[in-house]
């Protein structure tokens, strides 16, 4: 399906470029027409496709769950309610397993994370050219349909979680408690001079471990999904070959999609579980 007018490199590049809205170098606002142009827009630009798909999928999730929640009854549940209850109980079980403090925000956050990320990841299973081709026909040049392959989306979530962990760390442990957590361990001493000497070492180690949490959380999801998408794009390149290569590509795409279902679910689950664990760490005192 690689277009005749595109080389393979161009095809891949095209698939990896977001629909970016921002300020052109000449001062006017508008869509970027190439990857280089998008890059030149700097920070003051926005990925319209990422925003559109993530908000649409999130709205879809909230719509169905809200529909179930509005007509919820304690009697025999209907089909949708049954499904929603099944997921809620699964999330509730996960939160109870990892989160020991009391915070009514954590379970809904875990639910939102799991379903939202799952839906965004599932977009990876839609054949890579379908939606971009449709967009092309509608006059939209770039279209990346998997928001979780955009680091902005994964870092957006992980940084929000990081902010929440900082907020609850300060709230639960106080400034002193949180500061001592960052400076009094892992190296400890009863001697006050040694203790002070350990401060910078501990702060460095704890600071790295603190900052690595949101980074690893975001990069894990992004890396897995980006790699999966890249593989789909590479497989799609085979459709440009002769019949035998194209047929083999079809089989490969199917096989990778089956395997990818596992990754899609697993990554959503891992992201959720780690977010719960980080929240638990923010609440628990040492």
């Amino acid at each position: 399906m690689a277009g005749d007018s595109l080389t393979q490199t161009e095809y891949i590049k095209h698939h990896l470029t977001n629909l970016t809205f921002g300020q052109h170098p000449d001062g006017t606002w508008g869509m970027a027409h190439s990857a280089a142009e998008a890059k030149s827009m700097g920070f003051m630009a926005i990925h319209v496709d990422t925003m559109f798909w993530s908000i649409s999928l999130g709205a879809l999730f909230l719509y169905f769950f809200h529909k179930a929640a509005r007509s919820v009854s304690a009697d025999t549940p209907s089909g949708l309610q049954n499904f929603v209850e099944w997921i809620i109980e699964f999330i509730d079980y996960s939160v109870r397993g990892s989160f020991t403090a009391k915070n009514d925000m954590v379970a809904p956050m875990a639910l939102t994370l799991f379903i939202w990320i799952l839906l965004m990841n599932v977009m990876d299973l839609v054949p890579v050219d379908w939606i971009p081709s449709l967009a092309q026909a509608m006059g939209i040049h770039f279209m990346r349909v998997v928001p979780s392959t955009d680091p902005n989306a994964t870092f957006g979530m992980s940084l929000a979680i990081f902010a929440l962990t900082l907020f609850y760390s300060f709230k639960m442990k106080g400034v002193g408690g949180f500061a001592s957590e960052l400076t009094m361990q892992p190296f400890q001493s009863d001697n006050i001079v040694v203790k002070i000497l350990f401060f910078p070492v501990n702060l460095f180690l704890e600071g790295v471990s603190l900052l690595s949490k949101p980074v690893s959380l975001a990069l894990r999801l992004f890396g897995n999904m980006y790699a999966g998408e890249m593989l789909f794009i590479l497989i799609a390149l085979m459709y440009g070959g002769n019949f035998l290569v194209a047929a083999f590509g079809g089989v490969l795409q199917w096989a990778w999609a089956v395997f990818h279902v596992l990754i899609v679910t697993l990554q959503a689950f891992i992201f959720m579980t780690l977010a719960i664990v980080y929240m638990d760490m923010a609440h628990s005192e040492h």
Partner: protein, 156 residues
Amino acid sequence: MNINLTLIGQSITFAIFVWFCMKFIWPPIVAALDERKQKIADGLAAAERGAREQELAQEKAIAVIKEAKEQARTIISQAEKRNAEIVDLAKDEAREEAERIIIAAKAEVEQEANRAREELRGKVIDLALAGASKILEREVKIEDHNASLEKLSASL
């Protein structure tokens, strides 16, 4: 792979989604789940209570049946006793009645016999006179033979 405003947009979107979920989705569903849990627990407790009550009722029923049987037995034995009494009483009455009837019958028979005798006694004089007149072929006067006639009549 550019980091730009999308990052902040995604964070805000995420925050709004979590808020919405926390406000409108999670509480009602969890409340319904808890309510159902409570309902099921109540139902199970009620079932258990019902079973226990049924057991008690069964025990009670058995006791009542036993008592009723006992009562029936006493009533039957009392009735039998009373029956025998009534039969005896009836027998006695019947015997008395029979005796009375016999006595009355005997008295009546005697009375009848006496009356017949009296009648015969009244007529025997006439018969004797008539018989004697026929035999003697003359009139026999009652006054002449009054004494012997009286004697005859008395002998009857």
